[in-house]
């Protein structure tokens, strides 16, 4: 009788999960072998060594990465664990930053010591988060998302328009309006001023380390379990003695507190705050970090933050950006086509296609090849193949861009050789747009990339790079 009910499916699924597949397998297996503490130690070691190996200005990049990691870890509590889609999160970050800027600059005649300012700001942010959670008692899913998004909008409106509080003395300038608050003082603790990039870098790194440990502990506690339970099934969680509303409030408060803390650091590092620091763009950047790495996973979120914050730095240098673009193109080709003979056919096709276009185009219109190639290795290499436009380059690249997007979408739906047929002009057009326009527009490229990554990620791997696959019953 002992065999009855023993369930083969589970046995098999166990076998299935025994090993990772594909080219990432060795790295993932190694990653699994490290205990959480080991992983953290490794990360901290590498991160602590980073400033010694880079130029001084690159330390700033490091700070950007660490700040994004901090704020994304907080967002992960709300979204990844408690499953509350909070689109107003960026406002808490802004709240912390503005609060610190107001009490630690010449904006008001009030300069609070850091050791008082920080705890007060963190507590105030958490309180604000708890207040925002009140509507979430009645709203679920999409409605909560939209309500919080409006909150974020209201925050930006307020700081931009209400530089003077209504009904208060006219001399009081609180937020600086559209001009923001310049000249924010650095953190100062025990007579030690965090007035260099290096010092702030290590301060941020210390916070990231503490946050990772604290959140790891919290995730493995009754509170963390209750958050995940209410994410999985709010009704069932309620029946299992979980006070759902209180825990939602707690998640909002913890997330907001972390965001507020990060904001103070941000204001100090940037030596100022401006309304545009806290717009939708930054909100999406945070979400991209959490989702790319793997919503719910602490290492995933940190990895996501590194990837997302480092991308613009890579894009800024046209030489590096070129490499990134072409390597990306090759990876995409391999992933989309898979079979080597077809890959070869595609590459050959693209090359031939390019020369034909060039011959035809320069035959009928001289300007088509008159432009200056970018001064990078790859661009010079393909200068005689791709069209580098002289005149009218904006109009033509616009059309090329639209066609390239349409081509991409066609590639997604086409199959077999049709896919290759669509891929050839698409790749050529993509290269053309890159060489003529995108390479000089790193910020737009980054925005296109983030948007595209979110869409593709949801369709292909909604759990993110390091997240575990999720099942949801709808």
């Amino acid at each position: 009788m002992s065999q009855i009910g023993v369930d083969q499916w589970v046995e098999q699924s166990d076998e299935r999960r025994q090993d990772y597949q594909g080219w990432t397998a060795p790295a993932r297996r190694l990653f699994d072998k490290l205990a959480p503490g080991g992983r953290l130690a490794l990360f901290l070691l590498v991160a602590a060594a980073y400033p010694f190996f880079v130029r001084g200005s690159d330390v700033r990049v490091g700070i950007t990465i660490l700040l994004l990691a901090m704020v994304a870890l907080g967002l992960n509590v709300v979204v990844g664990w408690a499953g509350l889609l909070d689109l107003g999160y960026v406002a808490f970050y802004g709240f912390g930053a503005y609060f610190y800027a107001i009490v630690a600059s010449n904006q008001l005649p009030a300069h609070w010591p850091t050791w008082i300012a920080i705890p007060v700001i963190v507590a105030a942010s958490a309180l604000l988060g708890a207040l925002l959670s009140l509507p979430s008692r009645r709203l679920v899913g999409d409605y909560l998302a939209i309500m919080t998004l409006f909150f974020a909008q209201v925050f930006v409106e307020l700081v931009r328009n209400f530089e003077r509080l209504p009904f208060v003395s006219d001399d009081l300038n609180l937020t600086g309006g559209p001009n923001g608050i310049p000249g924010v003082f650095p953190w100062e603790l025990f007579g030690f001023s965090f007035n260099t990039f290096h010092r702030n870098y290590y301060l941020a790194l210390a916070f990231v380390g503490l946050l990772i440990i604290g959140l790891h502990n919290l995730n493995d506690s009754r509170t963390g379990r209750a958050w995940r339970a209410l994410r999985e099934d709010t009704l069932a969680a309620e029946h299992m003695t979980t006070p759902v509303n209180r825990l939602k409030m707690l998640a909002f408060a913890v997330g907001a507190g972390i965001a507020g803390l990060t904001g103070t650091l941000f204001a100090a590092v940037q030596v100022g705050v401006f309304p545009n620091n806290f717009n939708l763009f930054f909100l999406i950047t945070m979400y991209a970090a959490v989702i790319l790495g793997g919503s719910g996973s602490i290492p995933g979120v940190v990895l996501g933050a590194i990837a997302i914050a480092y991308t613009p730095e890579l894009l800024r240098d046209p030489g590096k950006a070129g490499w990134l673009f072409y390597i990306g193109l090759v990876v995409l080709l391999v992933v989309v086509v898979r079979r080597w003979e077809r890959i070869a056919a595609t590459v050959g096709g693209v090359i031939v296609f390019g020369f034909i276009v060039r011959v035809v185009a320069s035959g009928i219109w001289d300007e088509a090849t008159m432009g200056e190639a970018n001064d990078t290795f790859i661009s010079r290499l393909i200068d005689d193949w791709v069209l580098v436009l002289g005149a009218q380059s904006d109009v033509i690249t616009n059309y090329a861009f639209v066609l390239a997007v349409v081509g991409m979408l066609t590639v997604v739906v086409a199959s077999g050789w049709w896919k290759i047929a669509a891929l050839i002009p698409t790749i050529y057009l993509a290269v053309l747009v890159w060489e003529n326009k995108l390479a000089f527009q790193p910020s737009i490229t980054r925005q296109l990339l983030f948007g595209g990554v979110l869409v593709v990620m949801m369709a292909v791997r909604p759990q993110g790079l390091l997240g575990t696959k999720r099942v949801e019953i709808i």
Binding site: G5, R222, E238, H239, M240
Partner: protein, 288 residues
């Protein structure tokens, strides 16, 4: 003995459905009884129901589809508020309390549709149900204070004990598997284990044997008996499989259209003409 749970004249209907059905067509064409949204209201109702459960008793609720069984569960656990009537737990009314408060008072349930925390591990599913019985504050958890550690250990041990109740089914390597990887029967077992972890006195099982094969059904039947004998729960069960009902019940209650049509031993209820009619159709009991 004083009953652990008592229902007095409990009634719940959705959007006045009963009115419509009674008046319908009997009144004749042209008489239209309006209603907010009858399409959604043609679900279960509960009508003037009295019921009491003594400590240590196993009561089964049977009835054809749409008889109001799950609505009854939803009323007791606080998802719905009754239109009329009272629900007493140890003589105290629990009407108007939230599901969480009712759970903390000692009522635990499983769900017909299986509502596990699918992406949490098997052990975590059970541990999550200990929230109401644990105290660690959030800062204690963040800093892993000795008290928090001790409590964590206790919760883990408790979860392991509850899981061990099901023999080898949910033991060992399965602890760390996500709940979605479990088979259907094991998910039902896990739901029971999770309900047990809230430390209840009344356990409400909604179709515990649904989707199980005969051997598994037999096993769950024995298990429900053990739950009562060894752990001392009072148990209220909704079940379709009459073998299970026969095997476990101290008392059986049959519902049809939200009305109690029979109550007593399984033998009495299963041979009651009204019950046979409810299941087989009108006139079934007359025929022999």
């Amino acid at each position: 003995m004083k009953p652990i749970l008592e229902l007095r004249g409990l009634s719940k209907s959705f959007g006045g459905l009963k009115v419509i059905e009674d008046l319908d067509l009997v009144v004749g064409a042209g008489q239209i009884v309006h209603d907010d949204d009858p399409v959604v209201s043609q679900k279960d109702v509960v009508d003037d129901l009295d019921l009491s459960i003594s400590p240590g008793e196993i009561v089964s609720v049977i009835g054809p589809n749409g008889a109001g069984k799950t609505t009854l569960f939803n009323l007791i656990t606080g998802i719905y508020e009754p239109d009329r009537g009272d629900i007493l737990m140890d003589g105290r009314s629990i009407v108007g309390l939230s599901p969480e408060q009712i759970a903390n008072l000692g009522v635990a349930r499983t769900f017909q549709t299986l509502r596990l925390f699918l992406n949490m591990t098997v052990k975590e599913n059970v541990m999550a149900a200990a929230y109401g019985d644990s105290q660690a504050r959030i800062w204690q958890s963040v800093f892993r204070t000795p008290a928090a550690r001790r409590e964590e250990r206790q919760i883990a041990e408790m979860a392991e004990r509850k899981l061990a109740f099901f023999g080898k089914r949910l033991m060992g390597y399965r602890w760390d598997q996500p709940a979605y990887s479990l088979s259907y029967a094991n998910r039902r077992r896990l739901e029971i284990a999770r309900a047990m972890a809230t430390n209840p006195r009344l356990l409400m099982l909604d179709e515990p044997a649904a989707g199980m094969n005969p051997a598994e059904t037999h096993e769950i039947t024995e298990l429900i008996g053990e739950l009562r004998d060894e752990v001392g729960f009072s148990i209220l069960v909704i079940e379709h499989d009459m073998h299970v009902v026969e095997g476990i019940s101290d008392r059986v209650i049959a519902l049809d259209h939200g009305v109690k049509i029979a109550e007593g031993s399984f033998e009495d209820v299963a041979t009651s003409p009204q019950v046979i009619e409810a299941y087989l159709g009108y006139g079934a009991a007359d025929r022999k």
